[in-house]
Symmetry: C2
Subunit: 322 residues, 2 copies
């Protein structure tokens, strides 16, 4: 691709270079993204934004990779719980944990937030951060989405990979801002998206520093430290990045405040929502979904100037291996 671009640039001066978003159809969505990027990168335009302020934030589940039938991290937690229980059955010390290990998702769902936190505390804490990340990486190397029989890591969205890459080529810094666990995302952000671990923002449990057998170690502890979802997303971005992004992409109402805060700033701003409309290639869901519920984004987003990406219509391909 790059060679072609160079050849075109040399041989056909004045003609357009290679398409930066080849997996996007030639619809309004693609045109709007490119027009925005042009507007903030043209030094002669009064909409120009200095590279240091070209901050773009992306939700992860349902925005960069698939989140159906259930969050990838939930599959990880359940597999991990089963493996822990095989070694030591006493790990399943409550009805919720027993139900989770048996795959009885109804009971788990009925247990609400309390049950979920119990599963997280059991499967995500009590070990060094680095060990947890290695464990997640090992699991991801083979784990598959049962609904599509594809590896989770292969279920990233090709058009979004191109968008990330295009923005970075145009001087943006790209961050993940996810309701999911920060250390879980750090296990794959670099490999999957070319996003370094220091540009991952997510929810987290507490952690503490202690000497373990004489070795200074940071350990994951039970209990929530920060929930990076809904109104927590602008708070997380403000705390971590220290400035308001000019570009935000999400797919659910968990991203609403992030897009709201991003697009309310002065100067050019871009809000993007991935609308899951493609039951054939991916999944179709929005208002009534168990994950990625999208109501306000559809009702209020267009009035706020946000781009609603219609996956079936706007994406020529969904997966990298297509």
């Amino acid at each position: 691709m790059r060679l072609i671009a160079i050849v075109l640039a040399v041989v056909l001066p004045g003609m357009a270079l290679a398409d930066p978003l080849p997996s996007w159809n030639d619809t309004d969505a693609k045109a709007k993204i490119i027009a925005f990027v042009d507007s903030v990168t043209d030094p002669a335009a009064d909409t120009y934004v200095t590279p240091a302020d070209r901050v773009a934030v992306f939700d992860n589940d349902g925005t960069l990779w698939a989140e159906k039938p259930m969050y990838v991290q939930a599959f990880f937690a359940l597999d991990r719980l089963k493996a822990m229980a095989e070694k030591d059955p006493s790990v399943l010390s409550s009805d919720v944990l027993k139900a989770a290990a048996e795959g009885d998702m109804k009971t788990v769902a009925a247990s609400g937030e309390k049950g979920l936190l119990e599963i997280i505390d059991t499967t995500h804490t009590g070990l060094p951060v680095e060990t947890f990340i290695e464990d997640a990486r090992t699991w991801l190397a083979t784990a598959k989405n049962p609904a599509k029989d594809k590896r989770f890591e292969d279920m990233v969205y090709q058009p979004m990979l191109e968008l990330l890459s295009y923005l970075r080529d145009q001087g943006f810094s790209t961050y993940i801002v996810s309701g999911g666990g920060i250390d879980f995302i750090r296990a794959f952000s670099e490999k999957a998206y070319n996003i370094p671990v220091n540009q991952v923002i997510g929810s987290s449990v507490k952690s503490k520093f202690e000497m373990v057998d004489g070795v200074p170690t940071v350990i994951k502890e039970p209990g929530v430290f920060f929930v990076d979802d809904k109104a927590g997303k602008p708070v997380g971005i403000s705390g971590r990045i220290g400035k308001r992004p000019i570009f935000a992409a999400g797919n659910s109402d968990g991203d609403f405040e992030m897009l709201q805060w991003t697009t309310a700033g002065e100067g050019p701003r871009f809000g993007l929502i991935v609308h899951h409309t493609d039951a054939e290639r991916e999944f179709a869901y929005d208002r009534d979904s168990n994950v990625g519920k999208l109501v306000r984004g559809l009702d209020e987003g267009p009035g706020l100037g946000w781009l609603i990406v219609d996956m079936a219509k706007d994406w020529a391909a969904v997966w990298p291996d297509e």
Copy 2:
């Protein structure tokens, strides 16, 4: 300086380029720093570290700028409290706040952590993050250190500015990791140190997202969110950067765990402590100081291979305007 470097490079190929640390005397300290940097940047050496892992962390107060007779942020809080009380005397709703506004530091000190938090809640919360940062910037533009009659912003350490710059030129990313307030540091990190706001880690109060007169806003709230000091420093670094640094610099026992964690990692590591030995040009203090207390670092640091920088002996200049 740069022109000289270019001239030397062109005219005298093969000869050493300009000294990267001109304000450091030619002592062991300087030689050790340069040897370390050479060892991790030489691609042929088995001590080579890839640029993505060249993470360097710096404490702020007493490591990058002066912290005597009292932390700069404490001067800011007191000035701000006085200004608030002039507009509305009812702000001084407790004995600690009254004492602070009168400059009665004995009573403030006697009130302990509780009193300090009351002053922080009063002077640092209840307003948008962006407004607070602007206020701090305005104050810093003129505020002076009473002990030296110099602007606080002019009391950054020239040798440390050179060290930051040298490390960045050698592919390091440089972070501030301070017990001080993150938003206060963000008011000057870029201007003073060339460190962007997203590379500042510090203590913080809670914050929340809310609509203020229809405008989406992140507001600073009363109550501590995170204390980035002592054992909190490795925790803050792990959460924010997501990897262990290979270089850490501090000056007090509040930095001990950060240096301990940094230098315990595999491969080449560097721990540096600025020892304030220069009563003439700056201040001389360590074991018994009200700020920047340094005991463990002096007792255990050398045994852990850390470099103890003797300010009087190792630094040719202290201030940028010298």
